[in-house]
């Protein structure tokens, strides 16, 4: 996207606040004009007091009153300007953020699975802030800067051409100096940030692995390498800091020269051209005011560039292709028969995983999916829930093609317990009632009871009102899974999708989880990613997966008799 299009698109987001935008620009205009008028008026007052006995007392009061009013009004409009700009910034940030969040909800799972979450979060949180801050503040500064320059030019030229020319001609000097320094320090900065990045990376790695380093008595080597990088950082850091810190005194030096030149030409013009002392005072003030926007311009440009880069990252997400729109079909009471016909699917076109896969699961039966770690057991789950869409083929529930249903309708007919139990920050009660927010207290407690979760919930400090911290760190893995089971129990779906945990659950909770799973599958159709012998043996159908493909299917007995991959897999558990 080119810059102009990017900018236009961004500005479109401020459209609802057009009135405020207009008001803020008006306030900026007025406040800058008034601020510039102040030195002129001060000069006029000074000119009323030329020498002892030559003070124009009659002219002074109205001038002073006007000055006071101008000062008050300038302050008022300056405040109004900031106020309106703030209003626009924060509202735009909110809108853009909401839009982005909403967008995340419409993106296909493939996007969310294949992008780092930290990066997406940073777009939602940081990038949007940078966009709004950078753009709007950048523009305000640019706007006020331009008005200031034009205003000072106007007042200066009106007062005296020659002194004005001095200021106009000398000012770019400070700009050049700043640009020259920036250009010549860039590579120092670059090297500094590179080394800083290297150091941070090294610290992150070695401090993060400090236990490992200790275990291998590797402290000396790691410290040595750290010192090397750190010394390098000093070398580049010192240069970068020194050279960049040149710009402030140097621009000040140039400004001081301009100040002297204004003093000189002002005095000369006063002697030969009738410039008043008051006007010299005005010129001296303007010499500072006029150069300020020029000095700030580099910063503004950098800020705008950051904002643009961030905007691009935000728009990249907003431009992602959304999930296909929902169909309008409906599903009567679900019985639970699932049929898969001729299904083909691959996460990438060059690696097909399922080809012409067909499966019939009568209502109420249990399907176990087994296979080595990482063999793609979750693929079928992704397709059943339409987290991913098949390349071809149809999945039907009770004879209805699931792609003809709204996703929400389809998903409500399932109950899902994943291995990595996901709980959100909220109370235990809220987490159980997640699928049915309208559930009564009795129903919630009954579900917890049925999931064998009630006893441990009662032992929690605040029972059902205990807050679960982010990621549920205050609960054990097994307890989390029990809560997820209770959540599904409450929703009471006809089809279950269960992902058994491999380990990390203590024996007693494990027994409870298994019992809850068994109770739950009673009378329901269930797809279970299985690790437990009991689950596998009792399944009505076992799908054996390898490298993302279903390689065998059948019951425990038929598969063992076949002597294929399942046979190997099953007996490797007992190998020595």
């Amino acid at each position: 996207m080119n810059r102009k299009a990017l900018l236009r698109r961004l500005l479109a987001y401020t459209a609802p606040y057009r009135v405020f935008l207009l008001l803020s620009f008006l306030s900026a205009l007025v406040s800058v004009a008034l601020t510039l008028w102040i030195p002129v008026q001060i000069g006029q007052v000074i000119d009323c007091m030329v020498a002892p006995g030559a003070v124009d007392f009659a002219a002074l009061p109205p001038l002073l009153v006007r000055l006071t009013v101008t000062i008050l009004a300038a302050a008022l409009f300056q405040w109004l300007m900031s106020y309106f700009i703030n209003l626009i910034i924060y509202r735009t940030v909110k809108d853009l953020r909401n839009r982005l969040y909403h967008k995340l909800g419409t993106l296909p799972l493939s996007y969310i699975d294949s992008h780092e979450h930290g990066d997406i979060i940073s777009r939602v949180v940081n990038d949007i802030d940078l966009v709004a801050d950078g753009l709007l503040q950048g523009f305000t500064q640019l706007f006020t800067g331009v008005i200031t320059i034009l205003g000072t030019l106007f007042f200066m030229l009106r007062a005296d051409l020659w002194v004005a020319l001095t200021v106009i001609l000398l000012t770019p000097l400070s700009l050049f100096v700043a640009a020259f320094i920036a250009k010549n320090t860039f590579h120092h900065f670059h090297r500094q940030s590179e080394t800083q990045g290297k150091l941070s990376g090294y610290v992150e790695e070695t401090v993060g692995n400090q236990k490992l380093i200790r275990a291998f008595a590797y402290e000396e080597q790691s410290t040595k390498k750290f010192r090397e990088i750190n010394d390098l950082l000093y070398l580049h850091g010192q240069k970068a800091q020194f050279f960049s810190s040149l710009s402030n005194p140097t621009t000040r030096f140039v400004n001081a020269i301009i100040y002297a030149a204004v003093g000189l030409t002002g005095a000369l013009r006063a002697v030969y051209g009738g410039l008043t002392v008051g006007q010299i005072s005005m010129f001296l003030s303007y010499a500072n005011q006029y150069t300020k926007p020029f000095n700030e311009i580099t910063g503004i440009i950098a800020q705008l560039q950051t904002a643009m880069a961030s905007a691009e990252r935000v728009f990249a997400v907003l431009d992602e292709t959304e999930e296909s729109p929902d169909a309008a079909g409906s599903l009567p009471t679900v019985k639970g028969e699932v049929t898969v016909s001729d299904l083909s699917f691959g996460y990438s076109p060059d690696r097909p995983l399922l080809t012409n896969f067909t499966l019939t699961v009568p209502a109420g039966s249990t399907v176990a999916i087994v296979g080595p770690t990482g063999c793609g057991k979750t693929t079928l789950i992704n397709l059943l829930l339409r987290f991913y869409e098949p390349d071809s083929g149809v999945i039907r529930i009770d004879g209805t093609d699931i792609s003809s249903l709204p996703r929400d309708t389809l998903r409500r007919s399932y109950g899902m317990v994943l291995q990595e139990s996901w709980l959100f920050s909220g109370t235990v009660r809220e987490n159980i009632a997640y699928g049915r927010p309208d559930a009564t207290d009795t129903e919630i407690k009954a579900a917890a009871e049925a999931a064998y979760a009630a006893p441990f919930i009662r032992r929690l400090p605040r029972g059902y009102d205990t807050m679960i911290s982010e990621d549920g760190n205050n609960l054990s893995q097994g307890q989390k899974q029990l809560l997820c089971i209770a959540r599904v129990m409450l929703a009471d779906p006809k089809i279950l999708i269960l992902d058994e945990a491999t380990s990390n659950i203590d024996t007693r909770t494990e027994i409870l989880v298994q019992r809850a799973f068994r109770d739950m599958t009673e009378g329901r159709t269930a797809f279970i990613v299985a690790h437990r012998l009991s689950t596998i043996k009792n399944a009505d159908l076992i799908l054996v997966m390898k490298d993302g493909k279903v390689v065998e299917q059948g019951t425990h007995e038929t598969l063992l008799a076949k002597g294929g991959f399942y046979h190997t897999l099953y007996y490797s558990q007992f190998a020595t």
Binding site: P52, N98, Y101, V207, Q241, A256, R532, S572, A575
Partner: protein
């Protein structure tokens, strides 16, 4: 913050020279308006052209000398601040290297990383500011008032009113907005929490069709944030208009009073200009002071966090006179004598309770139990990652605390549950424990760890570069590498802390077979939740809730350890099969 002063000590020269020259620069800066007064009052009034030229030349000269002084100051500042930062980072890194596991757990690696990087950077900025601005800004403010007094004592009273007024405005607005900023940060954290949850929980949210509710929650948080931001925006928008209002007001008052003064000849036009000038200077200087306060507040928080680390004394260290490792292999390799352990000081939460057992050299010991039973903790006491709260852990017949710590770590190799490898060449990560290990030794270790095949397949073999966090390796590959790495050091005791969980059953079995046949003389501890991983160990230690509830062979335990039977019953292949 002053506790960190010693780190500035090597840069004493810079820390004195820098501010000194900045001070001189400020003095020169204050004389500029005085020169301008003369230029106007004498030069213009008396039409004295040579004088005007001389004064303008003097202004240029002052500017040039100021510039030179400023450069000297900036140079000193850059050396002192970057140098101090470098020293601080070294000191912190060294401190972290000496920390015990308990200390690392307590501070958290994430927090330590921030302290070494961000906090030191904050302090570095503070040192630079200290040298560059701390002398200059207050001096300019006070100096401007002083100069104004020398011109006209009565008129300078305006400064006495204006200066505290500006300071008060700065203080009030800033101190009032700080709590808001904190609130905003909290609200922003909530936004990022909701976003994170919506991503990590995307399957659950969609499965329960709760997107709309999640969105509403997010929008509410956004509204809340925007509202607070607007409120603080209103407040901080006051800062600049109010201060310039007061400054311009001061100028107006000066102008108001100076009419009669000029009339009776007590004040000149040039002096009025100087007053206006000083007034501007005072305000600018005060704004800088306010910013300095902010920088130093932030830096003092950083300094506290850095100090906290520096104040830590390593709690697990080598003894003063370590004893050598005995050559005699008859003594038990590992012996626990009434060992109890707690991660926290209170005895209520004992993770291990009164554990005693003895393992002869060359024995393989399985350790099993549910989560939280203390398996991992138990084996971590062997290499002194933690010290026993009560009782004694003996190695080769002597208290483990009597050996040199590093030597001890070389004797005992631990393969942790979470396989982590350092970035760099595969060869380097393998030979961490023995930097001079021969090629042959590396390959042998790889073969025992069942890793030969995949390493051979890598494009550059042992010279393959591993990404940070081993991202270019699979979980199973990383795990096998960590096992090989442990073996390269030729340890006497090998501890596999649930480290085969990412391996499939067949590889796991082959690994155990290789360990038994190739390295029969080392003592091995295998910690696992899987019965299949430990059932063939010489003896199995069963832990339940921190207590030892059984020790014996698989058969013994099946016969008389109910907890072991229960564990077996819940696992495939663990049941009655022998």
């Amino acid at each position: 913050m002053w506790k960190l002063l010693p780190f500035l000590k090597p840069y004493r020269k810079q820390a004195i020279v820098g501010p000194l020259f900045k001070f001189l620069e400020a003095v020169l800066e204050l004389t500029v308006p005085l020169v301008m007064i003369r230029l106007v009052d004498r030069g213009v009034a008396e039409r004295d052209m040579p004088y005007i030229w001389r004064m303008a030349g003097l202004l240029v000269l002052i500017a040039a000398v100021s510039w030179g002084f400023a450069l000297i100051c900036q140079y000193s500042a850059s050396i002192a601040s970057q140098g101090t930062g470098t020293l601080l980072r070294n000191a912190l890194y060294k401190k972290v290297s000496g920390m015990s596991h308990a200390q690392l757990d307590k501070l958290g690696t994430h927090s330590l990383i921030t302290r070494i990087t961000n906090d030191v950077n904050q302090l570095q900025t503070a040192v630079a500011m200290l040298i560059r601005l701390v002398v200059r800004a207050p001096f300019l403010a006070v100096g401007a008032v002083f100069m104004a007094m020398t011109i006209d004592l009565r008129l300078s009273l305006v400064f006495v009113v204006v200066m505290p007024l500006i300071a008060l405005i700065l203080y009030l607005i800033m101190s009032r907005s700080v709590p808001y900023f904190r609130a905003i940060q909290k609200k922003l954290d909530r936004i990022s929490l909701y976003t994170r949850e919506s991503l990590s929980g995307v399957r659950v949210i969609r499965a329960f069709a709760r997107q709309k509710e999640e969105e509403e929650k997010f929008y509410a948080a956004g509204d809340d944030l925007a509202e607070t931001s607007v409120r603080v925006g209103k407040l901080s928008a006051l800062l600049s208009p109010l201060t310039s209002l007061v400054m311009n007001g001061g100028i107006a008052v000066i102008l108001f009073c100076s009419g009669s003064q000029v009339n009776i000849g007590r004040l000149t036009q040039g002096e009025i200009i100087a007053f206006v000038n000083y007034m501007t200077q005072v305000m600018l200087a005060l704004v800088v002071v306010a910013n300095l306060v902010v920088i130093f507040t932030r830096a003092s928080a950083s300094a506290a966090r850095v100090n906290e680390v520096l104040a830590i004394e390593p709690d697990i260290t080598s003894p003063k006179d370590p004893i050598p490792f005995p050559a005699d292999r008859s003594k038990p390799a590992v012996e626990f004598a009434g060992v109890s352990f707690s991660y926290h000081a209170d005895a209520e939460s004992l993770v291990l309770q009164d554990i005693s057992f003895s393992v002869s050299a060359g024995e393989t010991i399985g350790v099993i139990g549910g989560t939280g039973s203390g398996k991992s903790t138990l084996v971590q006491l062997i290499p002194r990652y933690y010290d026993a709260t009560e009782g004694e852990v003996r190695l080769f017949g002597a208290d483990s605390r009597r050996y040199d710590l590093k030597a001890l770590h070389r004797k005992i190799a631990v393969v942790p549950q979470y396989a982590s490898v350092l970035s760099g060449r595969l060869r380097d990560t393998l030979s961490m424990a023995a930097p001079d290990a021969s090629e042959e030794r590396l390959w042998h270790a790889l073969s025992v760890a069942q890793a030969t095949e995949f390493v051979e397949k890598l494009p550059n073999g042992l010279d393959t570069l591993i990404d940070q966090g081993g991202k270019n390796l699979s979980g199973g590959q990383k795990q096998r590498l960590t096992i090989a790495r442990a073996l390269v050091g030729d340890p006497d005791i090998l501890i596999l802390d649930d480290s085969a969980s990412a391996l499939d059953y067949a590889t796991d079995a082959a690994l155990r077979h290789a360990l038994r046949t190739e390295l029969s003389d080392i003592t091995v501890f295998i910690v696992s939740q899987r019965v299949s991983a430990i059932r063939h160990a010489d003896r199995i230690l069963v832990l339940d809730d921190g207590k030892s509830v059984g020790l014996g062979t698989h058969a013994d335990l099946l016969a008389d350890c109910p907890v072991y039977r229960e564990i077996c019953a819940s696992q495939p292949g663990g049941g009655g099969r022998r």
